[in-house]
Amino acid sequence: MTEEIIIAGFGGQGVLSMGKILAYSGLVQGKEVSWIPSYGPEQRGGTSNVTVILSDDRISSPVLNTYDTAITLNQPSLDRFESLVKPGGTLIFDGNGLSRMPSRKDINIYQINATEYSISHNATKTMNMLILGGLLKVKPIIEVDNVLSGLKKMLPERHHHLLPMNEQAIKAGMKLIQVFTV
């Protein structure tokens, strides 16, 4: 099985680290993984994205033109990546501040209002875990335990006390995500 995912949003939205957690989780689960960020000055103020591949086999090309799953956290990202989801694939979007909603009918679309939720719950730091939770709900590619071990691997020891909070956020995200009908 191979899962090809793109996550995109504003620079400050934790897109890269969300991808990293996913990659580390894949590592824990014994998968082949690749993680490619968009890098450079466009991060500064602009948008940022990361491609994550999780696979049971050796990954040939880490560069992709279409994706099994796209996660978009703002309007420009939605505009850019909706069309690149493979037919039958999955789009997860944060509805915050959108002026144009997704419109494809050949893919599975989910909405997760993580921005709104995390602001109202004063938990912007775990916003990306909410979304990850949402992803794992609709695409259970990685076991939640492995995500937590991955997170543990990734975080320096001094931050390990934050793990329970993150676990909660994953669970909240699983509840927050909704099917979106075009």
């Binding site: 990293k20 590592l27 082949e32 690749s34 890098y39 040939s60 880490p62």
Partner: protein
């Protein structure tokens, strides 16, 4: 090569270079920041190897200074390196030529970005000519290794040092922005201790460590007053290059045994082509991939051999077409050699590579 703890780690290609350098007993790193490779020095500074192996890490004032620091340290028989990206590597060309002329080992990492000029910071392979034909002045060649995965970023760093010291030559690790920035699984090479001064004196009697009593002094130089002497130096270098060409060619073949058509590609392009081979095979086209790992020495014999049994080659590069010339030189007219490339930081998709094969070569 792999011994010790086989711990599987996840890291960026640039980070893997830093870890591998420390582990293989590197004595020093000198560099100047530039995207997309600044993580090499940043990782070293984070790891503080001066506290463990004693490795020196110094941020220089420029790439010109960096390469000349590498020259100085290499002249002492030390295992040293620098890293940069395209514009910075252009600034090193005089220094690289000096190292070649002075027969000094040292590793230069170029994590290529789109040029010419300031260009973009996106991935590119357009410094191939600079690396393998001679961006600096004079007749020199530089072993040039092209990693295609994070694992190879680590492994080829170690190999680059080995070649540098075996052939007393600057050696280049020619990666691209994607291989530098992507994270993959990697098993780091085992620790090798840094050489002691006595070991350096024994292995590299030319090193300037201070002239021992009663011995002749050592001179690191690339200067000869008489052209005859300079020609002799050049002959020595050329002889060494012939040995390199005989002994050190490395490549990977994927599905070439029964192939009618063969992609030739290195680095990230080879990864893209690997998927293109899968696509082609799924459409019943017998495609294969030859991935040069050493760009210099180039797998000339292998390509010659293949050109006797395949119907044609498609070369895919992130450039306007550079390595394709070496493929053509090796094929020497026997079968068609077609080219497809993207420039300025754009990476072709596996589908594009496959289409190039189909449209240019097969139809």
């Amino acid at each position: 090569m792999r011994k010790g703890s086989e711990e599987i780690m996840l890291m960026k290609g640039n980070e893997a270079i830093a870890h591998a350098a420390i582990r293989c007993g590197c004595d020093g790193y000198f560099g100047y920041p530039i995207t997309p490779q600044s993580e090499v020095m940043e990782t070293l500074m984070e790891l503080e190897p001066w506290n463990t192996t004693g490795m020196v890490v110094l941020q220089a004032e420029s790439e010109v200074a960096s390469i000349n620091m590498v020259y100085g340290a290499a002249g002492c028989g030390k295992k040293v390196m620098t890293s940069s990206s395209s514009p910075g590597v252009s600034l090193m060309q005089e220094g690289i030529s000096y190292m070649a002329g002075a027969e000094l080992p040292g590793v230069i990492v170029n994590v290529m970005r789109g040029g010419p000029g300031l260009g973009t910071i996106q991935p590119s392979q357009a410094d191939y000519f600079q690396a393998v034909k001679g961006g600096g002045h004079g007749d020199y060649k530089m072993p040039t290794l092209a990693p295609a995965s994070v694992q190879e970023m680590a492994d080829l760093t170690v190999l680059a040092f080995d070649l540098a010291f075996k052939y007393l030559t600057p050696t280049m690790l020619l990666a691209d922005g994607i291989i530098g920035q992507m994270m993959e699984k990697v098993v780091l090479p085992p620790y090798q201790p840094r050489l002691t001064e006595d070991e350096i004196r024994a292995k590299y009697p030319w090193a300037t460590l201070g002239k021992p009593h009663g011995k002749k002094p050592n001179h690191i130089t690339s200067l000869e007053l008489l052209s005859e002497d300079m020609e002799n130096l050049n002959k020595r270098l050329q002889a060494r290059y012939r040995t390199l060409e005989k002994e050190e060619v490395r490549f990977e073949e994927i599905a070439c045994e029964d192939a009618d058509y063969v992609f030739v590609a290195f680095g990230i392009s080879a990864r893209v082509c690997q998927k293109a081979v899968e696509i082609a095979r799924s459409e019943g086209i017998k495609a294969g991939l030859l991935r040069p790992i050493t760009l210099y020495p180039f797998p000339v014999e292998k390509i010659k051999e293949l050109s006797n049994r395949v119907k044609g080659f498609t070369v895919i590069e992130l450039s306007a077409g550079q390595m394709v010339e070496d493929v053509r030189l090796a094929v020497n007219g026997k079968v068609p050699v077609e080219f497809y490339g993207r420039m300025g930081g754009v990476v072709p998709s596996p589908n594009e590579a496959f289409n190039a094969l189909k449209e240019k070569l097969i139809q």
